[in-house]
Subunit: 266 residues, 5 copies
Amino acid sequence: MVGASEKYMSRLFRDGKAMFLAYDQGLEHGPKDFNDRNYDPCYIIDIALKNKFTGLIFHKGLAEKYHEHFSGKIPLIVKVNGKDNIAKTEPFSPVVCSVDYAVKLGAEAVGYTLYVGSPLESKAMEDFRRVHEEAREYGLPVIGWMYPRGQYVPNDTDPTIVAYGARVGLELGADVLKVKYTGNKETFKRVVQMAGRSKVVCAGGLKTDANTFMQQTRDILDAGACGVAVGRNVWQSDRPDKIARALEALIFENAPVSKAMEVLSA
Amino acid sequence: MVGASEKYMSRLFRDGKAMFLAYDQGLEHGPKDFNDRNYDPCYIIDIALKNKFTGLIFHKGLAEKYHEHFSGKIPLIVKVNGKDNIAKTEPFSPVVCSVDYAVKLGAEAVGYTLYVGSPLESKAMEDFRRVHEEAREYGLPVIGWMYPRGQYVPNDTDPTIVAYGARVGLELGADVLKVKYTGNKETFKRVVQMAGRSKVVCAGGLKTDANTFMQQTRDILDAGACGVAVGRNVWQSDRPDKIARALEALIFENAPVSKAMEVLSA
Amino acid sequence: MVGASEKYMSRLFRDGKAMFLAYDQGLEHGPKDFNDRNYDPCYIIDIALKNKFTGLIFHKGLAEKYHEHFSGKIPLIVKVNGKDNIAKTEPFSPVVCSVDYAVKLGAEAVGYTLYVGSPLESKAMEDFRRVHEEAREYGLPVIGWMYPRGQYVPNDTDPTIVAYGARVGLELGADVLKVKYTGNKETFKRVVQMAGRSKVVCAGGLKTDANTFMQQTRDILDAGACGVAVGRNVWQSDRPDKIARALEALIFENAPVSKAMEVLSA
Amino acid sequence: MVGASEKYMSRLFRDGKAMFLAYDQGLEHGPKDFNDRNYDPCYIIDIALKNKFTGLIFHKGLAEKYHEHFSGKIPLIVKVNGKDNIAKTEPFSPVVCSVDYAVKLGAEAVGYTLYVGSPLESKAMEDFRRVHEEAREYGLPVIGWMYPRGQYVPNDTDPTIVAYGARVGLELGADVLKVKYTGNKETFKRVVQMAGRSKVVCAGGLKTDANTFMQQTRDILDAGACGVAVGRNVWQSDRPDKIARALEALIFENAPVSKAMEVLSA
Amino acid sequence: MVGASEKYMSRLFRDGKAMFLAYDQGLEHGPKDFNDRNYDPCYIIDIALKNKFTGLIFHKGLAEKYHEHFSGKIPLIVKVNGKDNIAKTEPFSPVVCSVDYAVKLGAEAVGYTLYVGSPLESKAMEDFRRVHEEAREYGLPVIGWMYPRGQYVPNDTDPTIVAYGARVGLELGADVLKVKYTGNKETFKRVVQMAGRSKVVCAGGLKTDANTFMQQTRDILDAGACGVAVGRNVWQSDRPDKIARALEALIFENAPVSKAMEVLSA
């Protein structure tokens, strides 16, 4: 099959908009991101199901051991590569789940982090090729975490480099590109432009204050992104469902920030 | 198949508790761990069978050459990777037995050591992926020796790093995590918490005095671990069966340390 | 099958002459090559179809997401390897699209960049071997971007090194060789000579003034090349169709430069 | 199949004792080991067949080109890895003959050198795993040349390190371990002990005077080894058949050194 | 199949003697070896067919694009690995043509260069193993270019090292060994001796004056080599056919140098 199937693509979006809940931080960042509630995948699943998230991002182990809690209720996006952050070596993220196994786990899309510009990028590009083409055997969408990083990337939110990362994703065949915010709506428009027909979702990043986060999300959407892939700003919040509903207002109802803040403080 | 089969998982545990006898030290540490009795796998097998161990951990060669002594009498856990400790290079443990061959040897579970945080971790994660997914073809449980190590891990029993190692095991799909003790019940609770639905067994480590070892085991169990994977504290002891029975009291009867010490001096 | 099929070879040439439109710069150079029109693959496709280009060079992602705009209207050349230009490491270009997948995308030829003389060349030669032999399974022509580069290549347009690069292409089995211009018709004749029965097309390179570009193209053709593979000199121009028509005059009508300049200013 | 087949194992031993003639030195050491007679594999084969050797060790090329001289007359042990000694790099011995091809050559056992403790050991262990498991497909015995070597092995006959090397062989599944002599019967007993159910044969090493060699062989056997794998001490001797007969007395008749010396001077 | 088939072996020799025309220099040395005639493979083929060469050595690309000129008229020897000489890295020659594809091209033998003693030799030996065993699937003879080289080989025509290189070829299974001349008949005898049942052909090397070349060829043959693999001394000559006929006299008629010189000046 060429390209992702319409069936799977349509599952990831609602009216063309995406709101993914990311929970790959246990591997990527470790326990330091967690408190006594959000360490538990069940807590996260609960947030995902009670709100209008259009996809849940898990690594293989969580998808395997917690599937009965979310299976059939929300599209599963299996992150097929990953790494911890202990070794301070040039960035490379090995494949930790085959596409075949992701499919057995019920994945409706797969995610892959490409460290664009890393000295180890050539192996990563080969891995991405295989992941992409194996995903196509099933018609699965491929979401690229397009993350410029490494010794040749002094600033990974520099608009030029974020735009380059997005373009790499388009050229290599990713259907959805998860990118970092450039910090500026105008420069982010250029990122979206470079992504062409690959859809752009913006990473939430570190937990920030709600107003900043809502404004940033509004700008991202206005710049042409189709949504967000958020984690810490939701499940590190003490009011995750409200944050989720505020995001829904921005994303699915095209609400202004003021409306989102109202929802949040309701 | 997704996940480990119930059949195999239930074989490794008795009432949800595990007591594994580890004997992979011949490869990992060499003859220095052995005296004139315990160098002999038959001596070890004898200990395993006379007591209530729920699994016996062997490398391929021992499983192949001594199988008639234990086959059908105790679940065999084949350690599928391993290394000696001669070269002082960054830690990486190659696969020394395929999962297919482990199955031919009668394995009811496989063990894999992942040196978390090693600069060579990415190849290890790829190896682990293959081991995990090949094990799933048979429904075999995968036990991860989650051992942070290498130049970026100054202290491998630091609670933060042990907890991160455990989380890596959960995220990558291990069913049971063998971890080192943090030295403290409270911090070990956090390790168990991070392991989520992966079960935790604690490594016995260097031979210590019996009282310390029993107290440590009690703390580990109280912190939520489901058991231990012990070696030297049993087979380097001059009274291995009594040590085993004392451990049984702690693990399967939930006895206090005082009771265990009684058993030991009986 | 041995060699490229006549069917596919004949599709890439018109009266033995080639005029390819290259658009792999999004990956190779990034957004810096693009303005608000030419970032868009549709803009490029439009230029390709409105003029007499004999092939369109795309990476996998563009071929996948924009196929309905050009499929069946112009031969697609899928560039099967590529890299971005962020990391300043020795040149190596990984395979980003399998030949099988290129065929699914409708490719009628595949392109591969070989960085001749790179310290990483041996892996590249192995990759090229596989690409070449897999392409032969379908009878597909293989176009080699024969680009000497790396620490041992101080000047990549040195006539000696360009000629060596071309010869490497012939020896390894490429059907068409894309090479850089040596800057001189006489030295370029030697390049064409060394290419033997592999056909030579010259890369357009950086955008230059039209007169220089037309003269260079005339010299290239007079030196025996069968055509050009141009990108930036066309789609970075504010009159791409005129540039295309001027090139057509040179290539297909064997016109002098003066005639090409007339077409251009018509 | 699990383990080596009895059929093949029994072929390599006579009354449980082994006397292998090793001739892999052409690759390992080069022509410097040879004179005008013993450079010729036919000369070696002649020695092997005229005496009671229980196995002949050849690399692939010799097995292929000289098979009609020994086929069916003595068990062939194909050495499946090997290297020359020109480059002074950390020790690693690549696989130069697949097990499948060794079987086609008539091998009744395969030999593999593992440089224990080498910084390149992890790749070697992976190679050994494949060789071992492929050999098992045919029930072939695997003979491990267990040779600690490299920058972390200052003395490769140190009893501790020889014993560790032997143990590695047992743990990884070798059926027979070829080790170097520690120089001392008592320490060699420990080596044999660590080998468990893997049989131990001792390498002959550099040519030494006959008396020393016979005494060493006696000590090796008394320490529990099942025999020797000799080369230079036989075929560099000017009376190879007598050396062979003296070894036979020691190995198969359990003769004292004095008896062996008598045979030698008969 | 074990060993090369008689059918193919007999094709490469005439009365047990070989005279191969080598033309792999386009890849190995580049255009600097060529003038306006000999750059053209047709010119070379013409020389090969007009004289009594027993084999023509081409890389894949030439075999593919010029096959109609020689197919069925002279045995084709496809050189399956190769490299250019631009990068000054430790020598390693990647496989540039699979054996399967060489067979499709009509190869009746394959050639492989092994840089004996290179720090990269272990990968080369693995490649050679595969080439050798794949060739055996078809019964194809394997010709080893046994070339000691790299930082550990200060002098690649040192008799000791040339002899070692030849022995490596025998041990690894090559049927014919192409070696450099040691410069001396006596030392070359030792090279031939070490080659055992592998046949030896001597490389022609740099173009030298005809008398020296004829004398060298005579010495090589007298030392026991079965022939030569020549290139530059033939096709860089302004009288290639005469050189060829002079070589024929030496090789097939066992003529003295004086006779060869007569033929040459006839």
